[in-house]
Symmetry: C2
Subunit: 359 residues, 2 copies
């Protein structure tokens, strides 16, 4: 067990935004909320899975919706509490801790906020090792763990609780209700025991995010090439450098969808990278050819600072580096590829692990 203080938040949010592959929410809002809660209620106990009892019940908490909206519409904090408590009341057993369901600026720190406010521990793991846009896209699903009972709450005080026959139905209902709630909701779901999480979760994601964040912070001070430093920290590959040209966005079905077109610079001059996203970056094509796809991670970094750029922050003229990072092993099974691979998102291409292309 170690304690998460205000000083940890900055690095966690920064590093998680890299793993968030453009999604998972704007880290700025999440940082404010979590730091404020720690200041008010004290530091949060962070446990590894091995430090808890196998029977302990863990309920993840998160934000659901289009991150584009969240820049303007801030959660009020009571919403995530309401969702968490609704699930707890429904289950009727004590909940030992919360956790992140995904890595991502906001969604790594929402559970920290909740943990601080409720003086509840956190577990150092998540259900993706990255961020994905749809609810069923967690390693829990691969191991037969139900998303429900799931609760979702808005900042007005509305709460919706559901029990569904599979995790795709959870996504369907929750997406509609999220749209009704103003394209954003706070959620609690995927209750699981520590024993189950030892099997299904991606362990150590929070600590990994923090290390990445620390590396970026240090690179700002020490390094000539911050992008390369981050690339090494995440074990990734530099696949492109360029300047953002056109960004086409649409909010569709409650998602922030679109494509960014990046014109190559330096050794990539004369080439163009097309980055397709649905809340998160899904696929990168160079000159029309798929180079990286889900479930591998695609991070967009500011060339000068190494800081990650979220999908909603992409703007014309930004100079960016595109980094590809191998995904967690749990995704690299036929079931994993079926759940979150390129064909699920409509790309007619087989998944090729990024390191096969770049090693």
């Amino acid at each position: 067990m170690r304690l998460l203080n205000e000083s940890n938040i900055e690095d966690i949010a920064l590093g998680a935004a890299v793993l968030g592959t453009g999604g998972g929410g704007d880290p700025y809002i999440g940082k404010l909320m979590a730091r404020q809660a720690i200041r008010e209620y004290g530091p949060v106990e962070l446990y590894t899975l091995d430090e808890l009892d196998d029977d302990d019940l863990i309920v993840p908490t998160a934000m659901m919706g289009a991150p584009t909206v969240m820049v303007e519409k801030m959660p009020n904090g009571d919403d995530v509490l309401n969702a968490f408590k609704a699930v707890g009341k429904f289950i009727g057993k004590p909940i030992r801790a919360t956790m992140s369901i995904e890595a991502g600026g906001l969604n790594s720190v929402v559970p920290i906020y909740l943990a601080a406010r409720l003086r509840l521990p956190m577990v150092d793991c998540d259900g993706m090792g990255r961020a994905f846009p749809e609810l069923q896209m967690v390693t829990h699903t691969l191991f037969g763990i139900n998303a429900t009972p799931m609760a979702m709450s808005d900042e007005r005080g509305n709460t919706v609780l559901m029990e569904t026959i599979n995790n795709k139905w959870t996504e369907t209902f929750a997406r509609s209700v999220t749209i009704n709630m103003g394209a954003m909701s706070m959620i609690a779901l995927y209750a699981a025991t520590v024993a189950q999480l030892k099997q299904c979760a991606v362990a150590g994601t929070l600590t990994k995010a923090e290390e990445i964040g620390r590396t970026i912070r240090n690179a700002r001070i020490n390094e000539a090439d911050p992008v390369n430093t981050v690339r090494e920290a995440v074990g990734g590959f530099l696949i492109f450098k360029g300047k953002i040209g056109d960004v086409q966005r649409r909010t569709e079905g409650g998602f922030a969808k679109g494509d960014a077109f990046i014109d190559g610079i330096d050794e990539h001059a004369g080439h163009q990278l097309q980055l397709s996203f649905q809340n998160e970056h899904l696929a990168a094509r160079i000159d029309g050819e798929f180079i990286v796809t889900v479930p591998d991670l695609i991070a967009l970094l500011d060339v000068d600072t190494g800081e990650p750029i979220t999908t909603e922050a992409m703007r014309y003229g930004y100079r960016v580096a595109v980094i590809a990072i191998p995904c967690a092993d749990k995704w690299r099974t036929p079931e994993g590829i079926a759940l979150v691979g390129p064909r699920y998102f409509g790309y007619d291409v087989d998944y090729v692990p990024v390191e096969e292309r770049y090693s």
Copy 2:
């Protein structure tokens, strides 16, 4: 207390379809379900509000959705049980009885089906004295009673439970989820005590429906003019006779919306009535002038048999009589008109009680 047997079902469903003003679901399906349940589990005890204790808790049950869909997609019975039980579990107190939330072919008999299967009593009242298309449109809302906790279930086994800050939000969330469930869901909501129902409900609706149904049945045998017999039984006004011409339909936002154009016959020859509906009939215009609007009832009857015709059953060539019926007094307040009057549905006209136009 009296017992509802199989023999009561036919009259109740028939009469409720008149009060359902074109909506409330196709009675055919509801009759089958309720008769089958009574055959299997025995008759249902029907109480008046005065026969129950003021503290007794009552939870209405119903179908939600576009009746157009229901002709093809039949509820399986377990769905309404699941919804009812989810609300009961959430409240955590014994529920004394169920009731209809509205008059209408299916929605008068769904609670009978549930009551039979659970050997639970029913109360002889409803929340409208007719049918309306949206959840918040019940007299309960006028008296500050919450629609939530509300549960909704589908035939697959999915259940969604919600707690909202007002009944309009209930409608918003539930409509989206109903669409996701296939444009139809089974629901339990508006839990209230008998003391509250004595204040807010429309009493005696089921018995009234049964009497109307019996009248229609007898008219088939005895009467030269079945339409007139029904008109007298409901205390209504004959406003038009004609032949259905064009029927324009669309399923929009989970509702069956549209207009039917009826060309006058007999004393109405040369005139046209436009009947606008959203699940239920909302307004009738003769030659472009509003003649009857919500909250007063508009019933479409087969000229030859006096039987009500639902919005989804309207077809070119049917010879129909249009009957207007004064609504329950509870709707005729400023609050009632604001909730269910013509302007709420987008008609730029003031509500005029039908008997002021026709007496």
